[in-house]
């Protein structure tokens, strides 16, 4: 069911100048901040609690609860995570390029609520245009008075630093990001301490929120948390951006009311995905980014709902849905994703560092026609050594969740399409059509 929901974070998309301060102000920009500053920080936080806004970065932790976990200290930092690097995820990318002021407005609101006077926005290094627009918006915000020593005359002070990443997926992990911000290698931190809200950047309590999470805040403040919570269902409140890609007619980034809409709607509705391309059959789809276990046609009627997807054995994760049609080689697909993890593993933990590289080599060998039947059991056991039990949510033998992400495509592929893997082995070659763009 496609609902007639308000556009919360994409209201300005469509304007050529959506990233400018002029357009932002002309479309209600910084009104949410103005209102927030007239409230107490506790009231702001209460509003966000009421909204039951789930973090939009991938783990889906309630934002309000994250805020309330912070340790009382003289210094609290706010860090906005804009290091969106998961393959096929491009929602933050759109927000950063299309509406940077909205993110900044949300960040100021969040900083006000948690009592931070210094904020950082960590922008993925490859977002050249986005970084430029964020810098521009940041400067404009200072000029306008939305950042600086006396924000909009309220006396609240906040400085914001836009920090470009240096090209590592792992810095999207919040503790890897903090290390990188501190000028160190992007090595995720070992737990405990479990939460940056207690010990984060430079050892101080730090709230790390995703870009999209921030972008929701102005609307929530202006319209009330209850209005936000009225959208969606259960814990999955509000709308959410879904980055739809792969073999669909209309790939793109869509803002959709959570829970009410199903994967079938997203992929097949004429106003959204418009169906599998060229009228082909759906073979599988990735429901929440490269780290999530795959879904298949029987999962199409599951709602875009965090709990429902979790119950079905995967996750909404970063909100990217990748559609694979019948022409897709699952070995190649699993290999591609595994190669990504192998290249992006930070190298700290042995299972992730060595396991990803090993699995990548085996998958490549199978795809190239040199596979052995026992390779399938080997791959499954190798995955089991990274995430014991291969259940969902995965058990972790590594410091950060990158490790347990590695089995997702491999286990999904082998479990569902064992025959196709074996066909590779039997024929000594890939039986599926070649890519339209050959792999590198």
């Amino acid at each position: 069911m496609i609902t007639d929901h308000p556009r919360i974070v994409t209201a300005r998309m469509g304007y050529d100048d959506s990233h400018t301060l002029a357009r932002f102000l002309a479309t209600g920009g910084y009104d949410g901040l103005r209102k927030a500053l007239s409230m107490t920080p506790a009231q702001v936080q209460e509003e966000v609690n009421t909204a039951s806004l789930l973090g939009r970065g991938g783990a889906g932790f309630p934002a309000g609860r994250k805020w309330s976990m912070r340790r009382a200290a003289d210094t609290t930092y706010l860090v906005v995570n804009g290091d969106e690097s998961e393959p096929a995820t491009f929602k933050d990318h759109m927000l950063i390029e299309g509406d940077p002021h909205q993110i900044i407005e949300g960040a100021v609101i969040a900083a006000y609520a948690v009592g931070a006077s210094q904020a950082f926005l960590f922008c993925r290094g490859e977002f050249a245009l986005g970084y430029e627009r964020l810098l521009q918006a940041c400067n404009e915000a200072y000029g306008y008075g939305a950042l600086g020593p006396d924000i909009l005359g309220s006396g609240f002070a906040l400085d914001l630093v836009i920090h470009p990443g240096a090209g590592a997926y792992i810095c999207g992990d919040e503790t890897g990001l903090l290390e990188s911000l501190e000028g160190k290698r992007g090595f995720p931190r070992i737990k405990p301490p479990y939460f940056p809200a207690a010990i984060g950047l430079y050892g101080e309590p730090t709230i790390v929120n995703n870009v999209e999470t921030m972008a929701n805040l102005p609307w929530i403040i202006l319209n009330g948390g209850a209005a936000f919570a009225a959208l969606g269902a259960g814990s999955s409140a509000g709308t959410r951006l879904f980055a739809l890609s792969g073999h669909v007619e209309r790939p793109g980034c869509y803002e959709i009311e959570m829970s009410k809409t199903t994967f079938r709607d997203l992929i097949y509705d004429a106003s959204l995905g418009g169906g599998v391309r060229d009228g082909r059959q759906l073979k599988a789809f990735i429901p929440g980014g490269a780290s999530s276990p795959w879904f298949f046609p029987e999962h199409l009627d599951i709602g875009l709902d965090q709990d429902a997807v979790g119950k079905a054995g995967s996750m909404l994760g970063s909100g990217s849905v990748v559609v694979m049609d019948e022409s897709t080689c699952v070995v190649r697909a699993a290999w591609r994703i595994t190669r990504f993890f192998a290249r992006e593993s930070c190298g700290q933990c042995t299972p992730c560092r060595e396991g990803s590289g090993w699995a990548e080599k085996v998958l490549r060998r199978i795809e190239d026609g040199y596979g052995r039947e026992e390779d399938l059991d080997l791959l499954m056991d190798l995955c089991d050594n990274i995430a014991p039990g291969l259940g969902w949510p995965p058990k972790q033998t590594t410091i950060c969740p990158l490790g347990p992400s590695i089995p997702s495509p491999i286990v999904s592929g082998i479990t569902r399409f064992r025959d196709e893997f074996l066909l590779h082995v039997k024929e000594g070659a890939c039986p599926m059509p070649p890519d339209e763009v050959r792999r590198g």
Partner: protein, 879 residues
């Protein structure tokens, strides 16, 4: 205490204790690679995964990172834990080259051992392994084979966390991650060898040991390193009768398993071709090899002819305690001279050192505040530097650094007082005064910070019990008398303050304790106090108080001294007044050198006697704390070289006397019986459990139980399996301590130890600064042109080049550019050196290294005057 269940066994563990440690105490060994007991855990290698049952069910957790909690159930060998461990081990071997047959680590390799004990037995990996060029040099002494590396980060963590020199770090990511150095910054840390020692695979190898031996061919003893006075415990290993490797032993109170590279690789000098293997006698101007009888007779004949007080004996810091005692007894009771000095004018007055209330290294590291009034400890006493630096960086030790120029500790010091050279007394007054006043050269902010730190330390104890002073020579161009006065000022202000003497040379503290100093008898007793006691024990004592090295050299020039014995001393290289040393050695009619390797000074001698080094004989040595530890013999001396004490005994025999002992243990028994400071420190105690880490003398009246690590951990220090060839047995936990025996001694009454104030140290006033001159600061570097270091082939190329350091602005004012030659002139001499800019220096100070060029080349020693309080130099352009 918390209750835990480990593999079904109920156990008690300490609050906050790591599972891996609690298990180990209970005898359950959890496999590990990245975990090292002397470094913070990082939980990276995941080898130590165990199954921990908590409130949310059982999960695999790294035992090296997770602390015990009450009621926790831990399974280290459950099916899940075993599968995880086997999985990790298989992963580790995926890219490991398995070139064990040609790997130095093969046979003592934690990866090999744990592959057998915790691995799956067979690898399923059939792909191509990762390839790297092998090996690459990280620095002059360290090679890296990246194919073997398992990315445990022990080396990089050591460099950053312990050494504070993060010159190596990870580069790249995923399975392409590698340990690397930064461009044009090689791994030149003085502590680089420790990374080789703790590498759990053969990735890091040292240039000196690479391909030298296989582990199963090694024999080892536990002994003490004698390259400086810290006294690190080492496992000395030999192969086919030749020393090949030193490894640091985890001695909790001293080196905690770390060594400096000089100590680790300096043993190369032992097998150097420059070793003296036969006595030499000067005939027709040339030194020719002769037999011992002939050489000793020549010396005895001379000694018989001349009056005792015309004989001087310089040196003794290279000697073991027993040697020093034998020579002290020989000199005083047989030759009849008190002209003895183990120091070469570059130390501190012996009476001061012997009377300082001493602190241990551990006490310094846990003090409320430490005042470092010494040279650069990283150059002088590297492992002391390591301990203090790590305590400051990781445990909040407050260091007040007092030095004319910044040192390696400046970065972690709570306050850094750059005082004007020569003004250490004013500095001590400024620090200890209750009222704020100025100290020449010191900024008011730094002084305020130092006062705050000290005020904090004095809060709980106004007597200064919480303060430890590391006392040495901040610069050889500032007189020892200044430092002695400064120490007296501090001791007077804070009666509870304790000192750690920062004297660098080998067993110099032991030599002083054994009486190798004028006016000091064995056991930290003054000549006056001990006259009756030693008179009774030794028969006779010289009546006249003797001279120190400077006075002996001057007396040699003025012909008052006609016979000089150099006990492993090289005044030409080490005495900080080259002119005087040269004149003296050339003037003295009869020069005897007892040396292991011929030095420039010993080559001037009439008789040269070859001595054994500390690894070629048994005995004991004493470190800066006064800690006596056992030396063990691993190899035999080359040729006819023999221990110094035998030379003393034989000389005494030729002079018609009997020193009364015939072996090292006999000497120790006499020392323990006679030397008051060593009373109770018996051979039995030294060889027993309490002596494993050495015994600090004088013994306390109430025994303190030392604690040692349970056993040598082969994963922490691969290569040391057990040490059983020498006295110190391995044991667990606390052991009974040793205390001084009570009751009255024999008659005459045992003399009292020297107390502070025994010596009278004049507090000379510094001359006013000369507006046209710089004040010279000169200090040693760890790698210098000394004979021992130059005989170590791997270390000898590492000596820094000689250059004068000045502030950039002052170089500019001279009208020269960095790298240009300038003339440095003092009242005593001059030299031409290149000038180098150093913007950390205060103004008006010129820094020149000491001893980094051969003695025949002009150096800082040419500029120094042994009697000057401070040395002014002029810097002139050559044009």
């Amino acid at each position: 205490m918390v209750e835990i269940t480990l593999d079904g066994r109920a156990l008690q563990a300490e609050d906050g204790e790591l599972i891996i440690d609690a298990a180990e105490r209970a005898g359950v060994y959890i496999p590990r690679f990245c975990y090292h007991p002397r470094m913070k855990p990082v939980g990276m290698c995941r080898m130590c995964l165990v199954e921990v049952s908590g409130p949310r069910g059982a999960s695999l957790q790294p035992a090296c990172f997770m602390s015990v909690a009450d009621g926790q159930e831990i399974a280290t060998v459950s099916p899940a834990a075993r599968k995880a461990q086997e999985g990790v081990l298989e992963f580790l071997l995926v890219n490991h080259p398995l070139d064990c047959p040609v790997c130095d680590k093969g046979g003592e390799c934690p990866l090999q051992d744990q592959a057998v004990s915790c691995g799956p037995g067979e690898s399923r990996f059939v792909e191509e392994k990762r390839h790297w060029a092998k090996p690459i040099a990280l620095g002059p002494l360290t090679l890296l084979d990246r194919e073997r590396c398992i990315q445990c980060a022990r080396c990089t963590r050591f460099a950053e966390e312990i050494a504070g020199e993060p010159l190596i770090d990870f580069y790249g990511r995923g399975d392409g991650i590698e340990v690397a150095v930064f461009p044009e910054q090689p791994f030149t840390s003085y502590f680089s060898g420790n990374t080789v020692q703790i590498c759990p695979v053969g990735a890091l190898t040292s240039v000196p040991y690479r391909f030298k031996s296989r582990p199963w061919d090694l024999e080892q003893v536990e002994t003490t390193c004698t390259y400086c006075a810290v006294g690190c415990r080492v496992a000395a290993q030999s192969s086919a009768g030749s020393l090949v490797r030193y490894l640091g032993i985890d001695s909790d109170p001293v080196n905690q398993s770390w060594l400096c590279d000089r100590g680790r690789y300096g043993h190369e000098a032992t097998t150097s071709p420059a070793r003296l293997t036969s006595p030499l006698l000067r005939r027709q101007g040339d030194l020719v090899p002769v037999g011992w009888n002939e050489a000793l007779r020549a010396v005895a004949d001379r000694l018989r002819e001349v009056p005792g007080e015309t004989v001087g004996i310089i040196g003794g810091a290279r000697l073991a305690n027993e040697d020093a005692y034998a020579w002290s007894k020989l000199a005083r009771s047989v030759i009849g001279t008190d002209n003895l000095d183990a120091q070469l004018g570059d130390g501190l007055p012996a009476e001061l050192v012997c009377s300082l209330p001493r602190a241990t290294i551990e006490e310094a590291c846990s003090a409320k505040a430490v005042i470092v009034l010494a040279g650069d400890l990283r150059e002088d006493l590297p492992v002391l530097h390591l301990r203090l630096r790590a305590a400051a960086a990781n445990d909040g030790l407050q260091i007040v650094e007092c030095s004319p120029v910044p040192t390696s500790l400046s970065g972690v010091a709570a306050a850094c007082l750059l005082y004007r050279p020569g003004e250490s007394v004013a500095l001590a007054r400024g620090l200890s005064a209750s009222l704020p006043g100025d100290v020449p050269g010191v900024g008011s902010d730094a002084l305020a910070a130092a006062r705050r730190t000290l005020a904090g330390a004095l809060e709980s104890s106004p007597e200064g019990d919480g303060i430890v002073v590391v006392l040495g020579r901040p610069s050889l161009a500032e007189s020892a008398a200044q430092l002695a006065s400064a120490a007296a000022v501090l001791a007077e202000a804070w009666p509870g303050v304790r000192f750690l003497p920062a004297l660098r040379r080998s067993n110099v503290l032991g030599a002083l304790d054994m009486g190798l100093a004028p006016g000091v008898l064995p056991g930290r007793v003054s000549s006056d106090e001990g006259a009756e006691w030693y008179g009774a024990a030794w028969g006779s004592l010289p009546h006249k108080r003797g001279m120190d090295t400077a006075a002996m050299l001057e007396a040699a020039v003025s012909a008052e001294i006609g016979t000089l014995v150099l006990l492993g001393a090289d005044p030409l290289a080490d005495f900080p007044d080259r002119r005087l040393a040269t004149q003296a050695l050339e003037a003295v009619p009869f020069l005897v050198a007892v040396d292991a390797i011929a030095s420039p000074s010993s080559l001037l001698a009439d008789v040269v006697l070859p001595a054994a080094t500390s690894i070629e004989r048994a005995g004991s040595t004493t470190n800066i704390e006064g800690r006596v530890s056992r030396l063990a013999q691993k190899v035999v001396p080359p040729g006819q070289a023999r221990p110094d004490w035998i030379i003393a005994v034989e000389l005494a025999g030729l002079l018609g006397a009997d020193l009364g002992f015939g072996d090292v243990d006999g000497i120790w028994s006499e020392i323990e019986r006679l030397a008051p400071s060593h009373h109770g420190c018996s051979l039995h105690a030294l060889l027993g459990a309490a002596g494993a880490d050495g015994i600090v003398v004088p013994l306390p009246s109430v025994a303190v139980s030392p604690r040692r690590l349970d056993r040598i951990d082969p994963m922490a220090t691969p290569g040391i399996t057990s040490v059983d060839e020498q006295g110190a047995p391995l044991y667990a936990g606390a052991v009974a301590g040793v205390a001084a025996p009570g009751g009255d001694g024999p008659s005459p009454k045992r003399p009292a130890l020297m107390a502070m104030g025994t010596g009278h140290f004049a507090a000379p006033t510094s001359p006013p600064p000369d507006g046209y001159a710089f004040r010279l600061v000169t200090r040693r570097s760890l790698y210098d042109h000394g004979t021992l270091l130059q005989a170590a082939a791997s270390l000898s190329p590492l000596v820094p080049s000689q250059a004068l350091r000045l502030r950039p602005k002052e170089i500019e004012q001279l009208g020269v550019r960095q790298g240009d030659d300038v003339r440095v002139r003092s009242l005593t001499g001059e030299l031409i050196v290149p000038v180098v800019a150093d913007d950390t220096l205060p103004s008006g100070v010129a820094v020149l290294p000491f001893g980094v060029v051969p003695v025949d080349q002009p150096s800082a020693a040419d500029l120094l005057d042994a009697s000057a309080i401070v040395t002014h130099v002029r810097v002139e352009t050559l044009a």
